[in-house]
């Protein structure tokens, strides 16, 4: 196959202007704030001149370095656990005749919507070493004096983070599995391979790019989280990078040191993507061959109940048990009293909905900004992924790093970059909704990008070539060939960006102004007020409204988004 780069005359194509435009938007959105951050990291706090002192301050202490190492351990372990949770579930839902797939999918969606700090509080109640429900159940059943679970530990933190990140793994893997045609598996079976061997040797390797993509996303998200480590790691007596960063924002704030402290993470991201590139590069992963290719569910027999059991086990950890805790608190007068009929009240929900003036405005803002940000991120990500995959501009691979970079900078630090970028000319956006929309779009661009990249990689360029040989322009082949093939994946990608944007906290907290509050900020402010009843009520409202919107979305698009019902 001849690549585009080898045919320079194609650059005169009308589409070239479109590509250039997208590249410029990417550079303005991502490089501008990051460059300001980089500059800040070398800036002397008082004189504003060039200095290396910030790096010395950030890495001159073993405590700070240790926190960074802890973050790497947490990120890596959480990503591995997500593979263990998410990949078998994705395979069971996508490729097998497991029952109750709708329930499993709904539980995964619910997990994804639940803000992770709310889940973390629920887990403190479930696995607190002294009084956690799970520990009390264990001691009641076995007669032991103490339960085995301790959420206040490194494994506890990893588990809680993995619980709220595995949906990325599930959705990415599942999207890819849905595209693998059964013919490849049939070929293996014909040659005498069993289900397990076929799955491990044929099916899963075919979706390796998606798994690796999700692994990186989970890793990066895990090390950039603030809420969950603040709730779990501090009482467990260890620091991670984000809780250390928080110290740098204490009075007097040391932005320059914070910027310096988060810089090396960019190098880690570059390394991860280089690794992914090396693993994938030499093999062909083009699996999607248009509409042909039949997909049949694998018959699991009795094992399908085992598969369902595993799915329900994982979603109980991530969704059903924490939801029980949140529901109890949201409708309780006093959640410390536990379950009792006279303890049930609607007061918390009523206060949040009607008496607190900011809730309605914030709810509207949350979904409006998240929607706009998702559209912007998705359009940009698709264009960039396409440019990179089809090598439409020189040095295209660099664009991948640019598109993925925002994810690795902790939101709290990224917010400083946005703030610096959008309070000075030429783009003064502070005080408007746009600063939040652009911040969310930039922050979740990596998710949109990973998803778009996987989707576009799976489309064989020969399909477009066919259209172009028949005389169509590149834009026409995009519209008529690539677009329809991507449609389903896009709806999924939209949700993947939309949901995290509805719960995004760390960048919002410094960028909102009185008229532009979002729910996550209100929730966070509640989290240090010791009022778990109201916190739960607000979390519940966020979850319920998001679910309702997604259901309406299902209706409007006229499809069941990611849940493709396989013919039975």
């Amino acid at each position: 196959m001849v690549t585009e780069a080898a045919r320079p005359e194609r650059h005169l194509d009308r589409s070239a202007i479109v590509w250039a435009l997208f590249v410029i938007v990417l550079l303005v959105l991502v490089v501008n704030p990051l460059a300001r951050l980089l500059w800040t990291s070398f800036q002397h706090p008082d004189t504003g001149g060039f200095t290396l002192e910030n790096y010395a301050a950030a890495y001159g202490r073993w405590r700070y370095v240790e926190a960074l190492l802890n973050s790497l351990v947490v990120g890596f372990a959480a990503a591995l656990l997500c593979v263990v949770f998410g990949v078998p579930m994705a395979w069971a839902v996508s490729r097998t005749d497991m029952p109750a797939k709708g329930l499993v999918w709904a539980a995964v969606l619910g997990t994804f919507i639940m803000p992770n700090y709310l889940g973390a509080v629920a887990w403190i109640l479930l696995a607190g070493p002294n009084a956690g429900w799970l520990n009390r159940a264990f001691t009641a059943l076995t007669g032991a004096t103490a339960g085995p679970f301790n959420v206040y530990s490194m494994p506890g933190l990893v588990l809680v983070i993995a619980c709220y990140s595995f949906p990325y793994m599930f959705v990415f893997t599942r999207g890819a599995l849905d595209l693998v045609s059964s013919e490849m598996e049939d070929a293996a079976s014909t040659l005498g391979a069993g289900i397990a061997r076929t799955t491990l040797r044929i099916t899963l390797p075919l979706v390796l790019p998606a798994i690796l993509g999700a692994f990186i996303v989970v890793f990066l998200e895990a090390i950039a989280l603030f809420g969950t480590p603040a709730l779990i790691a501090l009482p467990a007596r260890f620091q991670v990078m984000t809780t250390t960063l928080w110290q740098m924002f204490e009075f007097p704030p040391r932005l320059q040191v914070a910027a310096a402290y988060s810089m090396p993470l960019l190098l880690i991201t570059v390394f991860l993507f280089w690794l992914q590139y090396r693993i994938i590069a030499r093999k062909g992963y083009v699996a999607l061959t248009g509409k042909g290719g039949e997909r049949r569910p694998v018959q699991l027999g009795i094992w399908r109940w085992v598969a369902l059991g595993y799915c329900l086990f994982v979603t109980s950890l991530s969704f059903f048990l924490p939801l029980l805790v949140v529901l109890q608190a949201a409708f309780a007068n006093a959640w410390g009293r536990g379950f009792a009929l006279d303890n049930v009240t609607l007061r918390n929900v009523r206060f949040v909905l009607f008496d607190q003036p900011s809730t309605r405005r914030a709810t509207l803002n949350t979904f409006l900004y998240a929607g706009a940000a998702s559209l912007i991120a998705l359009a940009l990500a698709l264009a960039i992924a396409y440019i990179v995959a089809r090598r439409l501009v020189p040095m295209g691979r660099v664009l991948t790093y640019v598109a993925m970079a925002p994810f690795v900078i902790p939101g709290i630090v990224l917010a400083i970059g946005f703030y610096a970028a959008y309070t000075t000319r030429p783009l003064v956006l502070y005080g408007t909704a746009w600063i939040l929309i652009l911040a969310f779009a930039t922050r979740f661009l990596p998710i949109a990008y990973t998803n778009s990249d996987a989707a576009i990689r799976a489309i064989n360029p020969e399909l477009e070539d066919a259209a172009r040989i028949l005389g169509g322009s590149r834009l026409l082949s995009l519209r008529k060939v690539v677009g329809p093939l991507l449609k389903r994946g896009l709806a999924g990608a939209f949700i993947l960006v939309f949901i995290p944007a509805t719960r995004e906290l760390s960048s919002a907290i410094f960028l909102y102004t009185t008229g532009t509050q979002v729910l996550s900020v209100l929730l966070f402010d509640k989290s240090d007020e010791g009022n778990f009843e109201l916190l739960s009520a607000m979390g519940l409202i966020l979850v319920v409204v998001t679910v309702a919107l997604i259901l309406v979305g299902f209706r409007l698009v006229g499809r069941d988004f990611l849940l493709r019902r396989t013919a039975t």
């Binding site: 405590r63 509080v121 403190i124 109640l125 607190g128 070493p129 002294n130 009084a131 956690g132 206040y152 603040a230 790691a233 501090l234 009482p235 007596r237 260890f238 620091q239 809780t243 928080w246 110290q247 924002f249 204490e250 009075f251 007097p252 704030p253 007068n333 006093a334 959640w335 410390g336 009293r337 303890n343 206060f351 008496d355 607190q356 003036p357 703030y419 309070t423 502070y430 005080g431 907290i509 410094f510 102004t513 009185t514 509050q517 900020v521 209100l522 402010d525 509640k526 240090d528 007020e529 010791g530 009022n531 778990f532 009843e533 109201l534």
Partner: protein
């Protein structure tokens, strides 16, 4: 002398006949505030329900002046104001932080507008030393750090009576405290404990492996979950949670409840300076403090009685480091705390 007594008597008569809460010059100030239409308050005092109730009370007393609050933690409130100042944006008119260091810095940077509220005379006398001599900030909120416990597990007779009881080995793995790096209340408490008992107190406390949260309010969640049984907790949030029916109680320690006084100030580039002055008056007024008490917080107006179940600060043995001790002490104890507790 006689004229002074007469004047005083006249003043008393006048005060008695004036409508409750009215102060000298209220009317023209209100008229000027109405022209400004609305006021924005960055606050770290109280929780969001109380902030909402204070704003509603203010709007009710002064119709035509809208009150917006941005309730957040002290560090975020300061950081936001700093952003605004740097970008030349005038948004907040009144700022209420709980970190004393913020006020010193804001005053030094010239961000505050001096104003001496007329209602200052009604401020609890014990809080007056915490006002700025140049009137750039005045005390408008108070609270106590107390010993708190879960009553469903701990009997009142067993509950700790003194701060030193928290180091008793019988509370091993059962004590909850906040982190001075996150909470000004905790920072003040740590400074005071160090002043009373030396850093040894925390070395002993560490042997009980306390559960360390961020905010002092996290202790309320820990007690409600029965994850911890006793704590160094806040008066207001604990009593509010207790009033809802949670199994909590407070102990006013024999060696002194730690008093926390927090100030408010008017921002120099306030978009609504007159409404800001009116709002400062309201924060000190009787009506304002009755709202505060209805939300289980401690009043700062000497004529307002505290909520049921709590004691008036005047009746409690309180201890508190001086402003300089807090300012110098907090950065120091943060470091010591991190060394001793490893976080």
């Amino acid at each position: 002398m006689i004229t002074r007594i007469l004047a005083l008597a006249a003043a008393v008569v006048l005060l008695g006949s004036a409508p409750a809460g009215a102060f000298d010059g209220e009317k023209p100030l209100y008229e000027a505030a109405k022209k400004e239409k609305e006021i924005t308050w960055y606050t770290a005092h109280y929780n969001s329900e109380t902030a909402a109730a204070i704003c509603q009370g203010f709007e009710k007393k002064y119709p035509g002046v809208k009150c917006n609050y941005v309730r957040t933690t002290a560090q975020v409130a300061y950081q936001r104001l700093a952003q605004d100042q740097k970008a030349g944006i005038a948004q907040a008119s009144v700022i209420s932080s709980t970190d004393q260091g913020h006020y010193t810095k804001m005053k030094q940077d010239g961000w505050l507008l001096p104003y001496k509220p007329k209602n200052l005379s009604e401020l609890v006398d014990a809080f007056k030393p915490f006002n700025d001599p140049d009137d750039q900030f005045v005390a408008t909120a108070a609270g106590l750090v107390l010993i708190t416990y879960n009553t469903s597990v701990v009997a009142p007779s067993e509950a700790p009576k003194r701060w030193t009881d928290l180091t008793d080995p019988k509370w091993k793995n059962k004590v909850s405290i906040g982190h001075p790096g996150f909470s000004g209340y905790v920072g003040t408490w740590v400074v005071q404990m160090k002043k009373l008992y030396g850093w040894d107190y925390f070395k002993k406390l560490e042997q009980n492996k306390p559960r360390i949260g961020r905010s002092i309010n996290d202790t309320v969640t820990m007690l409600n979950a029965k994850e911890s049984l006793v704590a160094a907790g806040p008066s207001a949030t604990t009593l509010e949670s207790k009033a809802k029916g949670n199994p909590l109680a407070v102990v006013y320690p024999e060696d002194g409840a730690v008093l926390m006084v927090s100030a408010s100030g008017i921002v120099k580039n306030a978009p609504a300076p007159n409404a800001a002055k009116l709002f400062m008056e309201y924060l000190l007024s009787r009506e304002g403090n009755e709202v505060v008490v209805s939300q289980y917080q401690d009043p700062v107006n000497k004529h307002v009685k505290p909520m049921a179940g709590g004691k008036s600060i005047a009746d409690v043995r309180t201890i508190r480091p001086s402003l300089t001790e807090i300012e110098k002490g907090i950065p120091e104890v943060k470091e010591l705390f991190r060394e001793t507790f490893g976080i």
